[in-house]
Symmetry: C2
Subunit: 281 residues, 2 copies
């Protein structure tokens, strides 16, 4: 018997991976969590049937969501990740020796459980003495965290289901209040390709809260269209002013495979049709 998992990107587009077997399945109050083993991508975690990460290309998403804000900040001592229960973003954040505390707030403990059991690459993140995991709603958590964090990263699912409020202005206001002076905020912001209205609206809501908003991109083979955007927001800091190439080189040398000093700037060079959406043109 041959098993294939198929994700329907749009009604007329499908992406399929040959599956060796199912390793984990849980129906939680928030979503359905699955881990499958595949021929081409190693282990794959799916939430509500959407590919969240694969052994093979998770480094792209996790390096790019973490190191851009971490190196945009001159001294990121205290970091918050909302979502990201798999631990991949946490692992990248903890590569930075400046970090004294890294908090992870994940609503669904089954995501953490599945990751700990099936993704050994992320184990070190959870056992690092600087990391602390909170299993609760990110919005409630951030409301009582005023002025606490140098870097906040929202590593959420798509703006449907449990994550929908994480893509709206009231949440962004709370994020801005949870930042320390000079702090920066990054969130995954979907693909523009076929989603232009959602991304345009998201950046518009971000601009209504943050004085500085820009977008950057990475190419992620197992996400729909490959074409993934991230938003970078702050009260005034731009992504480059505190960037230190020597610090970046030290992080790169710790085994990074995607992010590097050239890309820190290059990833903000957006294709014209993406730039128009990000700028609300």
């Amino acid at each position: 018997m041959e098993l294939w998992y198929t994700e329907t990107y749009r009604e007329g587009t499908r992406f399929s991976m040959k599956v060796k077997g199912t390793l984990y399945h849980a129906e939680t109050p928030y979503q359905v969590v699955d881990v499958v083993d595949t021929d081409d991508y190693g282990r794959v975690m799916l939430l509500d049937g959407l590919i969240m990460l694969t052994d093979r290309d998770e480094f792209i998403y996790h390096e790019m969501i973490a190191h851009v804000p971490m190196l945009a900040h001159p001294n990121p001592k205290k970091v918050l990740i909302i979502g990201g229960g798999d631990g991949g973003t946490l692992r990248e954040v903890l590569r930075h020796p400046e970090v004294e505390e890294a908090h992870l707030c994940e609503i669904d403990d089954k995501v953490i459980e599945a990751s700990k059991e099936f993704f050994p690459a992320f184990h070190s993140a959870f056992s690092d003495p600087r990391s602390r995991v909170f299993v609760e709603d990110g919005i409630a958590f951030i409301e009582r965290s005023k002025g606490q964090y140098d870097v906040i990263i929202v590593d959420s699912t798509d703006p449907i289901g449990p994550a929908v409020e994480l893509f709206e202005a009231p949440f962004f206001t709370k994020v801005s209040e949870a930042l320390r002076p000079g702090g920066v905020f990054v969130q995954q912001s979907e693909t523009v390709y076929g989603n232009a209205d959602i991304v345009r609206d998201l950046f518009g809501q971000l601009r209504s809260v943050f004085p500085k908003v820009s977008g950057y991109m990475a190419c992620i083979p197992t996400y729909p269209t490959g074409f993934w955007t991230f938003c970078f927001c702050s009260a005034g800091r731009d992504p480059f002013e505190a960037f230190d190439a020597e610090r970046a080189a030290r992080i790169e040398a710790r085994g990074l495979r995607y992010y590097n000093a050239d890309l820190h700037r290059g990833a903000f060079a957006l294709p014209t049709f993406v730039r128009q959406v990000v700028r609300g043109e």
Copy 2:
């Protein structure tokens, strides 16, 4: 009845597009040429069952393979495209007012025929008085073209079938001889992702011929992994030294949707794992 076209990227990965119907089918001495109409991508041309272009995202590939070399050269008067029988690259080259002659050498006239019939976006390229089409083998053509061209672009299929010799050092030597002094050469160079050995070998062969070789990238949703590379080669010119932002802005204003002045540099900022392959590390 629901029709789906499925491209098998690797044995364990498939990409499928819902198809309204087949518009064109030809079995030529070189390959099988198909044009299908799809729900999500408009019309799609396939060669030997591999997606070559879609109405929806062809602009990415064609803008990036054409405008990077065209703007790296200070005055590209005479341009050669090998392959590219669809006319998309030719259309982009002809946006440049400096061009006096644009030659297209395509081995398979059925590709040209199919494009002229089903891809009206490319019509203008073929009817432009500066363009001239040669239906013949690119290698024979380039042998008798010594010192002729400011820019040469190889817009070929994958290094299997009729295009295989276009990825080997003897051909690159002929390309280097067909360039005028100061000329530049660009070729599509596949995805690194899952193809690292092929791409590493290709760049190694290019470096054995051209003193300057670098790589750049674009994200193309309907190509396997999305992660597409291009090689930029010359006897000495780098991609940036002749770059003129005002000239780029004039080209951008002619309706480009991907390429822009920021990306001219940003596209050369390669992810680490791509850079290692391109440099042969």
